[in-house]
Amino acid sequence: MEEKGFGTEELIVNMGPQHPSTHGVLRLLLTLDGEKVVDCEVIIGYLHRGVEKLAENRDYKQNIILTDRLDYLASMTNNLAYVQAVEKLMDVKVPERAEYIRVTVAELQRIASHLVWLGTHAMDIGAMTVFLYCFREREEILNLFEMLCGARLTYNYMRIGGVSCDLPDDFAGKAYKFVEKFPKLIDEYEVLLTKNRIWLDRTVGVGVISGEDGIDLGLSGPNIRGSGVEWDVRKAEPYSIYDRFNFQIPVGEKGDTYDRYLVRMEEMRQSNNIVKQALEQLPEGEIMAKVPRIIKPPKGEVYHSIEAPKGELGFYIVSDGTSTSPYRLKIRPPSFVNLESFKKMIKGHLVADVIAIIGTLDIVLGEVDR
């Protein structure tokens, strides 16, 4: 009998693009040895719409709606990043009230985005109920945004030089009510997860990535803060009016899934805090700066990045000075860059960890493929 015939064989499993827990149309080509992942190839591009190319043929104002569709779970921050990039290019001073409104909605958006992350991450690991609790709270934020700008997902709210419309009368009250009760609800999620032994088993030591590796791979956002790297654009290079608020950035130590979970949970609390402060300090005044009706920035180029819920979101815009549409627009999407680390994180883990790690990376395919 020949001995080589009894060797084990690797199994190649195609996970996605249609799979319940790849968070969209991500395709993973997994090579399995039993249940162990030996190799993994990440295949993207199923949701490519050519946003960057489209932007070259639309004017600056119309491009705002394209940014809505990048990370469709956090349209507000996408708007903010783009709008601020153009403002930087044109050197526009945004009125105080608009800045406060921007910070309020951006932080509410961060909470909403993290809620979706928590819900789907927990659901991938099997805790269905957390998902519905999270969506209950997200719904309230969406209701607020709906009241504010008339849309629930693709807001198209920010404008170059300010915001499109002022807060409705009852917005501040409702938002404040939400902010008041939200920390208690975070505690509830924590009861279900933080100390639960199953949750600990599934997350502790899974998908570990060290700070150095994270920096090498260009990780950003909660993903790199989970590894103990103190990097947050809001603190490192404060944009808008973030330097006026009292808040802290949570940082993990080990860089595993559990740390990233803790970081995001704490981030929700801090964001909640910022919203509270912003609502309290909200000044009266204009919501739009004086910008020309047809936006034609001077010749030049600009890169501006903000701290989106998923990480550092940057817009690089080149203007030729004569056209009303950008000569070139390049997006640095956090999800796309964060996904790079997937291969490094998954090596040697089991099939079940694949989805745990996709969950912890918090990717949105709209942003990955653009």
Binding site: Q62, I64, R136, C149, G150, N196, R197, Q248
Partner: protein
């Protein structure tokens, strides 16, 4: 205040050992969900129920387009083509005849199959007498059986306006303004 804080990571704590041995972590979760069993439910029974005490469709909702008319039933549109130009998806089509002040609106079509509900057309409209000329309504049930059904003609858009709550609000506002004007005139006459 420090900018960065370490998260509290309590894994494998010695003091929690007995807590885990007697399954207390599981008990805590179970108690929470049991509590929720008897709490008030938040589901809205759509389509039987279209609004609740907590939520109803807001006035700013970017729903179906409508062409607004004044209290005499005349379209407010001045055929400036601003909305057509700003629309990123080219879904508005306007045709008019005549020139100058005698322009007549012949065609105003909104193709919802292309529309991405960005709301730029509503914003671009320069008309501002109580409402803009093209306004979003609160309607959100837009499904139809054929693609042709998604193309809204001038008459449909006007009908949308009269169907929506906004026309009533606008009418009330207009009446109020008239009354106030009348009052003002009376006052000025008196003085």
């Amino acid at each position: 205040m420090e900018d960065y804080i370490k998260v509290k990571r309590e894994v494998g704590n010695r003091k929690d050992e007995m807590w885990y041995a007697f399954l207390q972590d599981l008990k805590a979760g179970l108690c929470l969900t049991l509590g929720y069993l008897f709490k008030k439910k938040i589901t809205m029974q759509y389509p039987y129920e279209k609004s609740t005490a907590e939520w109803s469709i807001p006035l700013r909702w970017r729903g179906l387009h409508a062409l607004s008319a004044d209290e005499n039933g005349r379209l407010k549109c001045i055929m400036c083509l601003q909305c057509m130009k700003i629309c990123p998806d080219h879904c508005i089509k306007i045709r008019f005849s005549g020139a100058g002040k005698e322009r007549v609106l012949e065609e105003f079509t909104v193709d919802l199959s292309r529309c991405s509900a960005c709301g730029l057309c509503f914003e671009a409209c320069p008309v501002n007498s109580i409402t803009k000329a093209i306004v979003p309504t609160e309607k959100y049930e837009l499904s139809v059986y054929s693609r042709e059904g998604l193309v809204y003609k001038k008459e449909d858009l006007l009908k949308n306006w009269y169907d929506s709550v906004k026309s009533r609000i606008a009418l009330e506002k207009a009446e109020n303004m008239k009354k106030e004007e009348v009052k003002k005139e009376e006052k000025s006459v008196e003085s």
